[in-house]
Amino acid sequence: MNESRSVFSIHGVTGMLIATVLLLGILVFLSVKAMSVQNANAENFYQVKDETSIKMISKDNFANHIEDVK
């Protein structure tokens, strides 16, 4: 039986707090990053060119049919 346990150890409340802060940190980082990506792309229009000739399986689909709009 393990008797050397403490509620406030790294495997107790302290650890859970650190883990929570870590998770929230990741969340904030990704949110800020997501906003900046959306900002950068807000006017970055694309168009699907010649969509009826897109194949079900073809390596060229993306390169040939998704085009930037200037």
Binding site: I10, G15, V37, N41, A42, F45, Y46, V48, I66
Partner: protein
């Protein structure tokens, strides 16, 4: 190693986060930039349309109506061209919905008109035999909240660079500029201008009178939003 993790719950927890985050990262990140691009022909919502969108959300229209046409022949026959990710670039939040108690509305602007919506919102069963949709009579008297819609426009223009007052490219090669007022008064004036165009196609005299008097009933805003879904 598993024994060690089982004996050290903190590091076990961190390990779990890392594994789950990794799965999320390789699934979401590579396509995120592409998925946040607008497709050609997608314009931001005008003040009145955005107010209509708020009415749509407030009445939980999205609980029964989806706004996402899947690429299946049976869907495109019924609702029109399948939806593309870029068409939702300015939708915050998305109103994809999850259940079709009623039909999809993503392109309803293509095949329904102002006067039809007016008849339908007053008494759905009168135009669609057997319809279980309830009537939304209060929309004809409640006033649309233009100020909140304008506040949302300001927010998305500032924090998400949504292109108001700038030309956006259309499919036919032309451009379209969606105006956003520089002040609350100007935004209200712009919304009223668009509301007058809608009201001109409507039959309800009370709504016409309200718009002529400078007020915008919710139904006018909602129809503006419906007509913008193309």
């Amino acid at each position: 190693m598993f024994h060690w993790l089982e004996k050290n719950p903190f590091f076990f927890a961190v390990g779990v986060f890392v594994v789950i985050a990794f799965a999320g990262l390789i699934e979401i990140v590579p396509n995120f930039a592409q998925a946040s691009r607008p497709v050609i022909g997608t314009a931001p919502y005008s003040t009145l349309e955005l107010a209509g969108r708020h009415v749509y959300i407030k009445n939980s229209c999205n609980a029964c109506h989806s706004q996402l046409i899947r690429p299946f022949k049976s869907e495109t026959d019924r609702y029109g061209h399948y939806s593309l990710s870029g068409e939702y670039a300015y939708d915050r939040p998305f109103l994809w919905g999850s259940k079709r108690t009623g039909p999809d509305l993503h392109r309803v602007g293509n095949y329904r008109t102002t006067d039809w919506h007016e008849n339908h919102m007053k008494d759905p069963a009168a135009v669609v035999p057997g319809s279980i949709m309830p009537a939304y009579k209060w929309m004809f008297t409640n006033k649309a909240d233009i100020n909140t819609a304008y506040a949302e426009q300001l927010t998305v223009a500032q924090y998400f660079s949504v292109p108001y007052n700038k030309p956006v490219p259309m499919k036919d090669g032309s451009t379209k500029t969606v105006k956003m007022g520089a002040s609350v008064a100007e935004a209200n004036a712009l919304a009223l201008e668009q509301a007058k165009e809608i009201a001109a196609d409507m039959k309800d005299q009370d709504v016409k009178d309200a718009v002529a008097a400078g007020e915008i009933p919710e139904i006018v805003a909602l129809i503006a939003y419906m007509n913008s879904l193309k």
